[in-house]
């Protein structure tokens, strides 16, 4: 009974450890190399940032399908602004970053407004956002790619970070990318918000019982609005960081399906889609689990086409394992 509970609580961690172990044993030359770990973290960090905001939205009883399109839209906005401010160097990069994050925050606020004041179903409101924001991005790029014309400052920002005491194959110091740093800081911040802050308590209350929260004097509309706005801001950050790493934004594929990966990570991490409870660290593990699986399939030479099937199986497995907890 007790062990079953522990298994349900920490099963995801166990699953991640097992996968890491299998990888480490079967591909010792590859997997646990600092460079590979860094790459894995870097690849996971963009969805990881989005998934943190998604966790709060889902705990508050909502859902946001538009985040992938927000990533693309804010990345494209950042690059466009950057290209207009090339002569300002680092200052230009800062302006671009602010513009991108600002656009993400603004469209997140639009989602939140439609849902809280307009009383639209979150699924519908953000479904509209999913198609509309992508479409605006396509228009901005005329259907192709927006390339950054910055040769130094922006790509340097994308590749930059905190130097690590490891070297890569070419003997250079490994860098812990800004996206990873941002991801981890945000994860700690969101976990704190949820556990200790009044806002976090209200988020849980609204998701667990909207009516009881309203009768207790909580402005449930405002709480919901802020969860979507926050998620918009985080999607904006992810979009900007991703555009900096690639130094361009492909309007049709940038951020594509991020909403699905983010939702999957939240659910795998143990936050029920019905809301009312949840955990940020679980989402971080969920993102890592998805990342390790991709990494593993590449290193084992499995066709890319199989990835979806494996992800699907993992999602189902995670939900089935967690179902026991809801009924005890």
């Amino acid at each position: 009974m007790r062990t079953q509970r522990i298994f349900e609580q920490y099963g995801v961690v166990l699953a991640l450890l097992i996968l890491v172990l299998v990888n480490a044993v079967l591909k010792p030359a590859m997997f646990l190399q600092p460079e590979n770990v860094r790459n894995l973290l870097n690849q996971s960090s963009y969805i990881g940032i989005v998934a943190i905001g998604m966790t709060l939205v889902i705990i508050a009883g909502g859902i946001d399908l538009s985040v992938g399109s927000i990533v693309a839209l804010s990345g494209a906005s950042a690059v466009m602004v950057l290209n207009k401010n090339l002569d300002r160097g680092t200052m230009g990069v800062a302006i671009a970053v602010l513009a991108g994050v600002g656009v993400g925050t603004a469209v997140g606020a639009v989602n939140g407004f439609l849902i809280s004041v307009g009383r639209l179903a979150p699924f519908i409101a953000t479904l509209a956002g999913l198609v509309a924001f992508r479409s605006v991005t396509l228009v901005m790029a005329d259907g192709s790619e927006i390339r950054s014309q910055s040769m130094d400052a922006y790509p340097a920002f994308g590749a930059g970070g905190i130097p690590l005491p490891f070297v890569d194959g070419a003997g250079r110091n490994l860098i812990l990318n800004w996206s990873i740093v941002v991801w981890l800081i945000l994860a700690v911040g969101a976990a704190f918000l949820l556990a200790r802050a009044r806002f976090g308590r209200y988020v849980v209350a609204v998701g667990a019982s909207e009516r009881a929260a309203r009768y207790s004097g909580i402005s449930t509309g405002a709480i919901r609005f802020w969860t979507y706005t926050l998620l918009g801001a985080l999607s904006g950050m992810a979009g900007v960081l991703l555009s900096a790493r690639l130094n361009s934004v492909a309007s049709s594929t940038n951020g594509l399906y991020y909403e699905l990966d983010a939702i999957a990570a939240v659910v795998i991490g143990g936050t029920p889609l019905s809301g009312g409870k949840g955990r940020v660290w679980g989402t971080v593990i969920g993102v890592l689990l998805l990342g390790v699986i991709s990494n593993m399939m590449v290193s084992f030479g499995v066709s890319n086409y199989w990835q979806g099937a494996v992800k699907g199986a993992i999602i189902l497995l995670a939900v089935l394992l967690q179902r026991g907890r809801a009924t005890d």
Binding site: R196, A197, R198, F199, R201, Y202, V204, A205, A208, S209, R211, A212, A213, R214, Y215, S216, G217, I218, S219, G276, K277
Partner: protein, 493 residues
């Protein structure tokens, strides 16, 4: 004959039935009476296949049966009309009567046949509407007729009715009793749940009394008086249950409401309460009592003047209300009163969370405050950090009360505070309300339980159709007087 033998039903927090044995003979009209929480509804749900007993067995014509679903009970000839009707508003009467057992022709539903048959059954129960009437457009009485038509169409031999008149007007009640009399004459055995003794004596020939989950007595109604039955139901004098009334000190009203209007519900209600006073708000279901309270704390759009301590205020939501010292304990404890998935600590401080820190919550202080409330209200919780969903009704209600008391209100609106609470906890809640009032809190008590209003209130305002239709003070407060006003009956001089 339908029989139960030593039936026990335990829920995680309460034992609803404790070794009850009862027999319902064919052709009788058998009442089961008891106070709220006595176990009547649970027993009937077991008979109708809604709930499974923890122990004991059900026998039909001498053979043990086990109904795992409502459908199985219906096939055995047992149908139940629940307090909350189970109809689909969007479907019409015929579709509701045949829901789940639609007549078919090939793959398609045979609508024509369904409507013809339904028409016959609706006629049988003298429904004044046709089979194509959308159920959502019907009154509660009309919906009840659809339910009864459904039961009759299933050839029910045993018809269980759970307080069917609670939501009916007097005329509708008469019509229902005519219908039940007719069905009874056709050989249907009636099992009638109520706590209205006059009704029971009028309709039934046998009555069984339940108290605190146990069977007290079964006797013929002939020769029984309401007073005798009441005594069997309560098992003690009311004086035991309610503390002696204290007289509030003379003081200016703390809450004054004038010409309160809530569209569709309240039409020009006026109220005043003084510190230390317990004001009863009586009336039938749908008379606008809950809506008036919800409007006062800003949960419903309304017009009218609200004054607190003589000062005009506008309360737009429960937070503003609490800031001005007005708190509302909802009648819907599980849906609106508490977040069941949250702990006692989280619930207790939810309405007043700002007092525990601006951005971050001081969890130590929060825990100490909750512990103090747990002690003050005698809440029985294992661990205050566990979700309140597992607590008994009485303890949940105390947590909900603590949530509002933590905001130090001057006026407390209590809406059906003892609904779904066992008898012991009820008594504690009465004493608590009494104590709070004697400490100077102004209380408004909305209740459908007459003894509560009579036993606790200094003054009772009776509502009908969204208006105040009378006020009773001191010794005038009595069940009969309240009922006459609430139902709109002129007393014959």
């Amino acid at each position: 004959m339908l029989e139960v033998r030593s039936i026990t039903k335990r829920y995680p927090a309460v034992t609803a039935l404790d070794g009850v044995s009862l027999a319902f003979a064919v052709g009788t009209s058998h009442a089961v009476i008891g106070e709220n929480g006595a176990g009547k509804s649970t027993l009937m749900k077991i008979l109708a296949g809604v709930e499974q007993p923890t122990e004991g067995e059900v026998l039909l014509d001498g053979a043990p049966v086990r109904f795992r679903s409502v459908r199985e009970a219906a096939q055995a000839g047992i149908a139940m009309i629940h307090q909350e009707l189970n109809l689909v508003d969007e479907l019409n009467a015929a579709e509701n009567v045949f829901l789940g057992r639609e007549p078919r022709r090939g793959f398609a539903i045979d609508r024509k046949k369904a409507e013809q048959e339904a028409e016959r059954w609706l006629h049988e129960v003298r429904a004044p509407f046709g089979p194509r009437t959308r159920v959502g457009d019907l009154s509660v009485a009309g919906k009840q007729l659809v339910e009864i038509a459904k039961a009759v169409s299933q050839q029910a031999r045993y018809l269980i009715l759970d307080e069917p008149t609670a939501v009916l007007s007097e005329r509708e009640t008469d019509a229902l009793f005519d219908l039940l009399g007719r069905l009874h004459g056709q050989g249907v055995t009636l099992i009638y749940i109520s706590h209205l003794l006059d009704e029971v004596l009028r309709l039934c020939d046998v009555v069984s009394v339940l108290r605190d989950g146990q069977h007290v007595e079964t006797r013929p109604t002939a020769g029984s008086s309401p007073a005798e039955l009441a005594k069997l139901m309560v098992g003690r004098d009311l004086g035991d249950v309610f503390p002696p009334k204290a007289h509030p000190a003379e003081a200016n009203p703390i809450l004054e409401v004038e010409n309160l209007q809530v569209p569709g519900w309240v039409r020009g209600l006026g109220l005043t309460v003084r510190p230390g006073e317990i004001l009863g708000l009586a009336g039938l279901v749908g008379s606008g009592r809950t809506e008036a309270c919800e409007a006062i704390v800003g949960l419903r759009a309304h017009t009218g003047d609200t004054r607190l301590g003589g000062e005009s205020v506008r309360l737009r939501n429960p937070r503003e209300a609490l800031r001005h010292g007005v708190a509302y304990l909802s009648e819907d404890r599980k849906g609106a009163g508490l977040v069941l998935g949250m702990s006692a600590v989280e619930n207790t401080t939810l309405a007043n969370l700002r007092a525990y820190g601006g951005f971050t919550i001081d969890r130590g202080r929060q825990r100490r405050a909750t512990d103090a409330w747990i002690q003050a209200l005698d809440v029985r919780v294992g661990d205050p950090e566990e979700p309140v969903g597992t607590l008994s009704g009485g303890n949940q209600q105390k947590v909900a009360l603590a949530k509002w008391l933590d905001g130090k209100p001057r006026v407390l609106l209590l809406d059906e505070p003892t609904r779904g609470v066992d008898v012991g906890a009820k008594r504690e809640i009465y004493r608590l309300v009494h104590r709070l009032a004697s400490e100077g809190l102004a209380c408004v008590l909305v209740s459908s339980e007459m003894p509560e209003l009579v036993g606790l209130c200094h003054r009772v305002v009776v509502m009908r159709d969204g208006r105040s239709v009378g006020e009773l003070v001191g010794d005038e407060i009595g069940e009969h007087a309240i009922m006459l006003l609430a139902a709109g009956v002129e007393e014959a001089a």
